[in-house]
Amino acid sequence: MLQAIADIVRLDGAEKHFGAVRALSGVDFHVGAGECVGLVGHNGAGKSTLMHMVAGTLRPDGGQIAVRGNAEASYSVARALELGIRCVFQELSLCPNLSVAENTRINHPSLTGFGWRRSAAALIQAKLDEIFPDHGISADDIAGDLSIGRRQMVEVARAFTLTREPLHLVILDEPTSSLDAHTAGQLLAFVRRFVEGGGSCILISHVLGEVLQNADRIVVMRDGKVVAADAARAFDRDKLVAAMGGAEGHQKAAAESRKVEVGPLRVRAAPARQQDGKELVARAGEIIGLAGLAGHGQTDLLLAIFSAASRARAGIEVTAPVALVAGDRQSDGIFAQWSIAQNIGVRSLARLRNGLLISPQQEAELAEFWKNKIGIRTPDMNNNIYSLSGGNQQKALFARALGSDAEIVLMDDPMRGVDIGTKLEVYDLVREEAAKGRTFLWYTTETEELDNCDHVYVFKNGRIVANLGRDELTEEKIIQSSFGDAA
């Protein structure tokens, strides 16, 4: 029981589902007083979900939260702040239209009345001075005018400012992602001082060195579960990587080694921020994977290739028509008011024309062909696209791309939230189409999908950092490259 009271926060059996996706399945997690806990894991391992729960912004579907040994039945952001638990979220959460001092005021309800501006300015200025000497930020600066690094500095400093509410635990979700090495060092040194002074911290970082050096204890998550938790000195880099990737040996789907004749060049592209001359090369009949942590430039490169197909762009060579399968189908893929057939035909309008008008008959033929080929489950292709389940909607988007004249198909993590049955059907289709000479560029956050690829480029910070052939492809290798400490 003593142990429980020494805990700032403790979660028992925390669960969270998003629709059919299980983000957390029964996680036990705790943070003690005066302890810095490092939290690591691959994309979608559930770290952020877990932290949202601790911060009170997400409610668990199951399990319990206890703060300082007291079970919290109706835990919320307001309650968390009252108990001294704060979070610096990964997405920047400053108001860009407000000044630094005004942004500080937002987190402190007690900063009111006459002279609040001066107190807020003094508060944030002092904290910035303490954490980042020579930061060069004025409390009157408008947040939106600051560089992204400085905004992150303000956000971190703001989380440590103190007025009426106590401060016991600060969650830092990727606090150094936009900081240079110097300021990141200043921040981590401050975190150590804070912890030594009795405060607690949860440090989430993709830079494993930071976690190993600064955390007292490290918790490794994978697939919504805690897979390892131990004192930091029990870990080293390789052990962490092994735990994150699942050292039980990733069974490669005995994908018969497809024979790939070297076809003509289809795409040659270098990311805008690439400096060392590495580039992505794709030939006819190849399936090329784009891997790495989410948001490290994969989508940007796909979009650059897409626009290069219609208008020449420096550094990118595209020799055939291109189609894109969007990842966020709700906002980028689907025409919500249209039927399934219209959604499929929109990429091929030129071919479906009869004189000046679209021929409904040809459109229906195209739709019917793909309905049978890809197995879209609907009684009538003229139904609205929303009559389909999510997986079938995604199939319709694949049909749109594959039914077009595009020889190059760009896939922007299209399998998010799609059930496994649909996935397997689409994998087969992709391999089949590739065998016929189409080229696929496939960005995915799910490592298993990369097994379908002939070549995998790993991205980090908007650059290609590794080019793995089919035979060298292991999850560990990918994690190793995407967590490379060379920032």
């Binding site: 912004t57 952001v77 959460s93 400053l94 860009p96 239209n97 407000l98 005004e102 937002i106």
Partner: protein, 303 residues
């Protein structure tokens, strides 16, 4: 830097043009005449600014001003208690609209477009034919002649200072503007977005009421269609004054200056330029396009 000065710069330009075309207009009497309608326009612009601060738009402010005008010229004079209750109730309706828009996640453009017909219909019910008369105290207030400084200028200054203090300097004003800048951040810090939306809409209603009353104080009688032009004028005033449609970037001082610029450019300037009344509305639009285009160009250069 240049961008922040643009509202003041465009006002100065219009003033210089007027002074050049007709030097006698730059006088106590001249300003009283030229800025005659500037006060209700400025108040309506401020009203619009509050909803824009929360990333919404009010397409009903014009007909709302007309409705308030009709209430002012009838009930507020004949039965002040009922008049006051109706006006307070209409502010309450605005607050409810804010709640509705937030809770049901409705586009404010749709809701307020619908409301614009409701206000218009109510105004016609109250005053089927132009007429009525403003209460005497209101007439007296609006025809107040202070020494040296023309009343419209004094009133504009007062409005700008009061709203600037309320929205830009108070601690809750920060929360109101923050709700337009990054609503998610505000929610995470434990603030109620329902409350900010209700407050912003209620403030819009309040300043809409003030605008309608000021308008009737000047025109002395009302007409159900009297405020119809104010919807677009108020939006233009906010944007002319340096505000932006999204992101919570608004400026009360700029909005008042924008309203003054519009009031001057609307008819005095064009009359002095000998543009026939038939063409004045179109010319007014042209001036708006030029000023707003200049603003876009300048802010693009500064980026």
């Amino acid at each position: 830097m240049l961008r922040g000065l643009l509202p003041a710069l465009s006002l100065a330009l219009v003033l210089i043009a007027i002074a050049w075309l007709n030097p006698r207009a730059i006088s106590y009497f001249g300003f009283n005449l030229m800025l005659n309608l500037a006060i209700p326009i400025a108040l309506a612009t401020i009203a619009q600014m509050f909803v824009i601060a929360g990333n919404e738009l009010d397409l009903s402010i014009g007909t709302f001003v007309g409705f308030v005008g009709c209430v002012t010229a009838t009930w507020l004079r004949d039965a002040p208690l009922i008049g006051i209750l109706v006006l307070l109730g209409s502010i309450g309706v605005y607050a409810l609209l804010g709640a509705l828009i937030h809770l049901r996640n409705l586009p404010s453009i749709v809701v307020t477009l619908g409301m614009s017909f409701v206000w218009q219909g109510l105004a016609i019910l109250i005053l089927p034919k132009p007429g009525g008369k403003a209460p005497d105290w209101l007439l007296a207030t609006m025809s107040f002649k202070p020494p040296y400084i023309p009343f419209p200028i004094l009133a504009a200054l007062l409005i700008a200072v009061v709203v600037h203090f309320g929205l830009m300097r108070t601690s809750y004003g920060v929360i109101l503007r923050g709700s337009g800048g990054n609503a998610a951040a505000l929610r995470r810090a434990g603030w109620s977005l329902l409350r900010t939306k209700i407050v912003l809409f209620a403030l819009t209603g309040l300043f809409g009421v003030l605008s309608g009353m000021a308008l009737i104080g000047i025109t002395t009688s009302a007409d159900a269609n009297i405020g119809n032009g104010y919807t677009l004028l108020s939006i233009a005033g906010v944007i002319l004054g340096g505000g932006e449609f999204v992101g919570g970037r608004v400026s009360p001082v700029g909005a008042v200056i924008g309203a003054l610029t519009l009031a001057l450019a609307a008819s005095p300037l064009l009359t002095f330029m000998h543009i026939p009344p038939d063409w004045q509305v179109a010319a007014n639009g042209a001036i708006l396009i030029i000023v707003l285009a200049a603003r876009v160009l300048i802010s693009r250069r500064e980026r």
